[in-house]
């Protein structure tokens, strides 16, 4: 009886070796079965609908191939809607990102009182989830034409209306900021915590102040993460529907799609697919950029 090396590096009689490796191969095939339900679910409820949109975009109402649907989104009123949505998303992502980073950094400082961190983090969790209909109403109560802040500013002699509007870029950005900003705080906390204490102390020991640390070590290390999260924020804002709807904004791709599903006529129903496709394209680009940035992040923060 000869001894044969197993895959793990041990020895076993060759008679058994054959059966064991066959069993292992069979076991490997069966293990995939364990995750089958999940992938089936995802396929059914996520991949197929998304795939259908991509395909149907290139289909006419009767079933032939066409590019006219895609072409339609380059005509009014869609481009301006895309433009507005991208601007809005970018603005809220940028400011949400920067502010989120600054506040996360502040919350994690070693000297702050112990209650600050739980208070801000749990509130951030709340605010990040508060998006949607109630948020729109809350901001209407704050900055609407009869809003508390509006009235306050009027008393101080500043009239923000009619130039300001909650449906305009600035107004909507502020509303979006309410959930983007805390989202960034929550996402940023683990990233900043990933900056080892030893790096800061070593930097300080070598003569660098706080600014020096961030300039040479902190920011270079977390910038990929920071950017990646901002991109995520962008995607989040770009997909927003309920908040915009409740604010009464109409020139967003999401809202426009919604109008089709609602059965509003006046738009070509095939446009819905094209619009959805357009959104998917933007989102895919977002995801790709995010993945690339994530890969850079893991290099430093291992």
């Amino acid at each position: 009886m000869a001894l044969v090396e197993t895959a793990e590096g041990g020895l076993q009689p060759d008679v058994l070796a054959g059966t064991v490796s066959r069993k292992r191969r069979r076991a490997r095939r069966w293990t995939f079965l364990g995750v089958l339900p999940f992938f089936a679910f995802i396929t059914l409820f996520l991949l197929i609908p998304t795939g259908k949109i991509v395909l149907d975009t290139f289909e006419t109402a009767t079933g032939g191939f066409t590019l006219s649907n895609v072409d339609a989104i380059f005509h009014a009123p869609y481009p301006s809607a895309f433009e507005f949505s991208i601007e809005l998303s970018a603005l809220s992502a940028l400011w949400g990102g920067i502010l989120g980073f600054l506040v996360a950094n502040a919350v994690l400082h070693h000297g702050i009182p112990r209650w600050v961190r739980p208070a801000y983090l749990s509130f951030s969790g709340m605010a990040a989830n508060f998006a949607g209909v109630p948020l729109a109403f809350a901001f209407t109560a704050t900055l609407g034409s009869l809003g508390v802040v509006t009235v306050l500013l009027k008393h101080l002699g500043i009239n923000i209306y009619p130039t300001f509007s909650l449906q305009g870029l600035l107004g909507a950005s502020l509303v979006y900021l309410f959930f983007q900003f805390p989202l960034m705080i929550l996402l940023m906390v683990p990233v900043i915590e990933g900056l080892r204490k030893e790096w800061r102390e070593a930097a300080s020991n070598l003569g660098a102040g706080s600014f020096g640390f961030w300039r040479h070590i902190g920011l270079p290390v977390i910038t990929p993460s920071l950017l990646g999260l901002m991109v995520l924020l962008f995607g989040n804002a770009f997909s927003a529907y309920a908040t915009a709807y409740a604010l009464g904004i109409s020139n967003l791709p999401t809202i426009q799609i919604g109008q089709f599903v609602n059965g509003n006529n006046g738009y070509d129903p095939q446009d819905a697919y094209a619009l959805a496709f357009g959104m998917i394209v933007v989102i895919v680009i977002t995801i790709i950029i995010y993945s690339l940035l994530q890969r850079r992040t893991s290099r430093w923060l291992k």
Binding site: R196, E198, A202, N205, L206, H216
Partner: protein, 375 residues
Amino acid sequence: MSTVELRGLRRTFGSVVALDRLDLDVHSGEFVSLLGPSGCGKTTALRIIAGFDWPDSGEVVVDGHDVLGLPANKRNMGMVFQAYSLFPNMTAQQNVEFGLRIRKQNHEARARRARELLDLVGLASAMSRYPRQMSGGQQQRVALARSLAIEPKVLLLDEPLSALDAKVRVQLREEVRRIQLELGITTLYVTHDQEEALSISDRVAVMSAGRLEQLGTPAQIYNGPRTSFVANFVGTMNKLEGVVISSEDRVVRCGPLTVTVPDPSFRHSVGETVELYVRPEDVRLELLSNGASPRAGSFEGRVTSLTFLGPVTRVGLQTDLGPLLSDVSSAVALNLAADTPVSVGLETDALRSLVSSTTTPDSSSSDSSPTALLS
């Protein structure tokens, strides 16, 4: 080079006392190890010196100036951390140059100095490597080079070798000492490894529970431990119980043995129970042929265990004085087995009487270490 004085350092974390009025003087160019178990306060003390923590009270004086008012980045001390302290986004060279960059040195001067230091630690070939491309030992060498680049007055090392393999540890500690001697830089070295501390320090400060138990040269610490903590932490000690027979002559009876305690400061009244200590290497064994009695001054014992330690074998014994450990050369130990009867003798010059800690007032000892315990 600089002197460092710690005066009355006290630091509490809530109800835990990390440092309890620590006093320490480090002379210029000296290599002092802070040795003790986890939680004894050695790292806390080091961090306070470096500026990453502040004491509740006390002073840290460097070259006659109190540095506690200075932030960490203005104290001009070099620090080597236990691990992970190299900046991940910079090469070895850039890491070493960092301190110089902050001090606005120009490009060539920085590069020159970086090369010089990496040469010193033997890593000139790794200049363009990133931390993740280096082994633990290499990283710590770069960390050392980096801390020395700024020509600090004081070098602080916080268990720099703990995270490394045993063989690398021995190699690197020799190198650290060699470099320290070459540069003559005042150094404070924190470790829990007594072998490490004894082998490379000028003086060792043994700490326990926030207090300084004993400060002395490695030989003083090992041969003349002043408290039972030091005796047990540094090396191994056998404990013997005895009764004082003569106070003036310092005679104690331990079981069948009558000994004279060598320490002239041993003052106990007749009839008092005392504890005496002796190291395993000072316990001598002789084979007893059947029926023979041990000679005068020795007593009988039986072998209970044999632990092979390489050059030496630790023999566990059961005797009338209780269980004892004896270190004998492994060649001799070949003649021993469980239950072998032996004749046990003690090097009475090596007997010590110790107090349990520095809380109880201690009479001054006979060895001549100038910087003694707290009074």
